[in-house]
């Protein structure tokens, strides 16, 4: 049955299109908490991962994403709660009896075995008949395009090739889910981007559920069907990339994914899904769907820089917020305009350079506006610290989004 999954991806596409509709739960994380002595690594994680889904666990280092993955793999046991694989509670089942396989951060290929033997390791352990092992290994080496390297040792391969061996070694077992622990972390930027597409292709081809741990928000946005953003052991939000980016639910998520202007605002009055708030003496509206706010409470307003419009004269409808320009940086596709409010909050606008660039210079007074649906009102909370994203990854400074790299430097 699984054989057809591999050779016939068409059958899995249908399942993949509706990954989050509640059916076909492969991994059920049921109120899982993990403590190491006094340290709470994962706190009450509770979510389901579906058949064929590309699910990312995203967060800064130490947020509990790897611990969560290791609990699914069986290397750690939950202190509380249960983990179910295809409906069966595996919380106490050792890794070698779980039908999930891991692609390790540094691949962990067996150095004394050839590529072929590495890939054959799992099926051999499971006592799969010899002729079937040969078929499966050859097939998977073809999927990862390494058939010509079958007799090499891992040391004779490049990082990207080792990565693909690790992938084949895991997938050859036809696991119910593939767990990937920062698999692209050790690769340089170019290769990483190529491998992102490659991973996505392979996932589509084999139709297996991928659980992907990463600290790289762009990587998560690029590949995932859904993302769980984690911070300090808590799952902050689980949603598809578009929603995570456009409708973050917490200040942390807003700040961690992409760039965001986060301004403290006072909620003046709120009713039936809209609220009035004050920002720099200007009263504005925003739609919201949370019951956390009442009149007079504090909130954080999130607006993406690309949604901020800059005007050199006050807009006619008097919705403009008056600011002073502090810096202008030309970044190719965009002009980054940094501005300061009277309260010394910074607001950044990205102005597309294909449109007309406003004739302004630092020190000028400008007015900014945004569509009311561009703003999101969030309960106050801690924003990610600058550099949260940067982990032990070499070459991390070459972030694929130059604007972000720059921003982190400045703040």
């Amino acid at each position: 049955m699984r054989d057809t999954d591999v050779t016939e991806p068409a059958g899995t596409v249908a399942r993949q299109t509706s990954p989050a509709d509640g059916k076909d739960v492969v991994i059920d994380i049921d109120h899982v908490t993990k403590r190491f002595a006094d340290y709470v690594a994962v706190s009450d994680a509770d979510f389901q991962i579906h058949q064929g889904e590309f699910f990312s666990l995203l967060g800064p280092s130490g947020c509990g994403k790897t611990t969560t993955l290791r609990m699914i793999a069986g290397f750690e046991q939950p202190s509380e709660g249960a983990i179910r694989l295809e409906g069966v509670d595996v919380s106490k089942v050792p890794p070698y009896r779980r039908n999930v396989n891991t692609v390790f951060q540094h691949y962990a290929l067996f150095p004394h075995m050839t590529v072929w033997d590495n890939v054959a390791f799992g099926p051999r352990s499971q006592k799969v008949p010899k002729h079937e092992i040969a078929g499966r290994v050859d097939e998977l080496l073809e999927v990862v395009r390494l058939s010509d390297f079958a007799n090499r040792k891992p040391v004779q391969l490049s990082g990207g090739q080792q990565q693909r061996v690790a992938l084949a070694r895991a997938l050859v077992n036809y696991p119910s889910a593939l767990l990937l622990d920062e698999p692209l972390g050790a690769l340089d930027l170019k290769l990483r981007q190529a491998m992102q597409l490659e991973l996505k292709r392979i996932q589509r081809e084999v139709g297996i559920t991928f659980v992907y741990v990463t600290h790289d928000q762009e990587e998560a946005l690029t590949m995932s069907d859904r993302i769980a953003v984690m911070n300090a052991g808590h799952v902050e939000q689980i949603a598809p990339p578009v929603e995570i980016y456009g409708r973050p639910e917490t200040v942390f998520v807003a700040g961690f994914i992409g760039q965001a202007n986060l301004c403290r605002v006072k909620v003046l009055c709120c009713n039936r899904g809209t609220a009035d708030y004050e920002l720099c003496g200007q009263t504005l509206h925003v739609a919201f769907d949370s019951d956390e706010f009442r009149d007079g409470s504090d909130g954080t307003l999130m607006v993406r820089p690309e949604r901020v419009r800059v005007h050199t004269s006050p807009p006619a409808d008097d919705t403009g917020v008056q600011l002073t320009i502090t810096s202008l940086v030309f970044q190719g596709p965009i002009l980054r305009v940094a501005m300061r409010t009277a309260d010394d909050d910074e607001i950044v606008a990205h102005v597309g350079t294909e449109t007309e660039i406003p004739d302004v210079r630092p020190g000028d007074t400008v007015w900014v506006t945004w569509e009311s649906d561009a703003a999101t009102l969030l309960p106050p909370g801690p924003a990610p610290a600058p550099g949260d994203e940067a982990e032990e990854i070499p070459g991390e400074t070459a972030t694929s989004d130059p604007a972000r790299g720059h921003d982190v430097e400045e703040t």
Binding site: T102, L109, P111, G122, S125
Partner: protein, 291 residues
């Protein structure tokens, strides 16, 4: 400019040779020259008195014939004892190295220190201490006699068992340390990977840890077997006339009988056999494959 650059590269090409001159000189003076004179001695005839023997080089191949025919038993015995001691050291040393490398936690350094501690007492003294421990009036023998494992007239000292035991004891650290080093180097994530790929502990050990530790086993067995095969202290203090090893024979030929040519021939035969053995062993275990 080009001249300077060329000179620079020439210098760096010469530097390795310059750096190795002291070591090469050392080897020439203290290894090649003695070996050469030993070879000449092994093909010489002796004349003169026992106190002042004189050797004359004369292509005396009969020294080798004598060495083989007279001391064949001792050769065989040496390799059997050394083989048994190596096996025993491996069976004791591997599990201990494994425990120190993977299970000892913060006691790792303490345990390693204990392994090395006996080196602070000289080889000879330690071997003589075993003589006391295994002696007929020692506690080991009396305990075993009480339990009934040994009969009232049995003893341990002066038996082959005592010699092998002494060899095992003396060379155990040389077995353990290389194995420990090769185990220590193993990335424990490989064991996790094996576990992830449906291999419980035992299979993960056989398929991953054991093959990756073979270079240590190879080094350890050589470091144990070679000196054990040539050892004369253990056979002399813990053995009897029936357990004489080739090392004792060579020592006696050189220092007591003073038949230098035969002693030298014996040394060469021992060296040759060990060298051939090592080459065959290396071929079989194929260490290049593992690194």
């Amino acid at each position: 400019m080009a001249g300077v650059a060329a000179e620079g590269t020439r210098k760096s090409r010469v530097a390795p040779y310059l750096l190795s001159i002291p070591a090469l000189a050392w080897l020439a003076v203290f290894f090649v020259v003695p070996l050469w004179s030993l070879l000449r001695t092994s093909l010489s005839t002796t004349s003169g008195s026992v106190y002042l023997p004189e050797q004359t080089f004369s292509w005396e191949w009969s020294n080798y014939a004598t060495a083989f025919s007279t001391y064949g038993t001792q050769f065989t015995r040496s390799f059997v004892y050394a083989g048994l001691a190596t096996l025993a050291a491996l069976l004791l040393g591997y599990p201990l190295a494994y425990v120190i490398a993977f299970k000892a936690g913060r006691f790792k350094n303490v345990l390693l220190g204990l392994v090395i501690l006996p080196f602070f007492v000289t080889f000879l003294v330690r071997t003589i201490a075993w003589k006391t421990i295994l002696g007929d009036d020692g506690w080991v023998v009396s305990l075993l006699q009480t339990v009934g494992i040994l009969g009232p007239d049995d003893h341990i000292l002066s038996t082959a068992f005592a010699v092998v035991l002494g060899l095992t004891y003396n060379f155990l650290p040389f077995m353990l340390l290389p194995i420990y080093v090769s185990l220590e180097k193993i990335d424990m994530r490989l064991v996790e990977a094996a576990s992830d790929l449906y291999s419980p502990g035992g299979r993960a050990f056989r398929k991953v840890i054991l093959p990756l530790s073979l270079p240590g086993v190879f080094a350890g067995t050589l470091l144990t077997f070679i000196p054990a095969a040539g050892d004369f202290i253990n056979a002399q203090y813990l053995g009897s006339a029936n357990t004489t090893m080739i090392g004792t024979v060579i020592q006696k030929q050189f220092l007591i009988i003073k038949d230098y040519p035969v002693a030298a021939a014996l040394s060469f035969v021992l060296m040759a056999i060990i060298l051939i053995g090592v080459l065959v062993y290396a071929r079989v275990l194929g260490t290049e494959e593992i690194a």
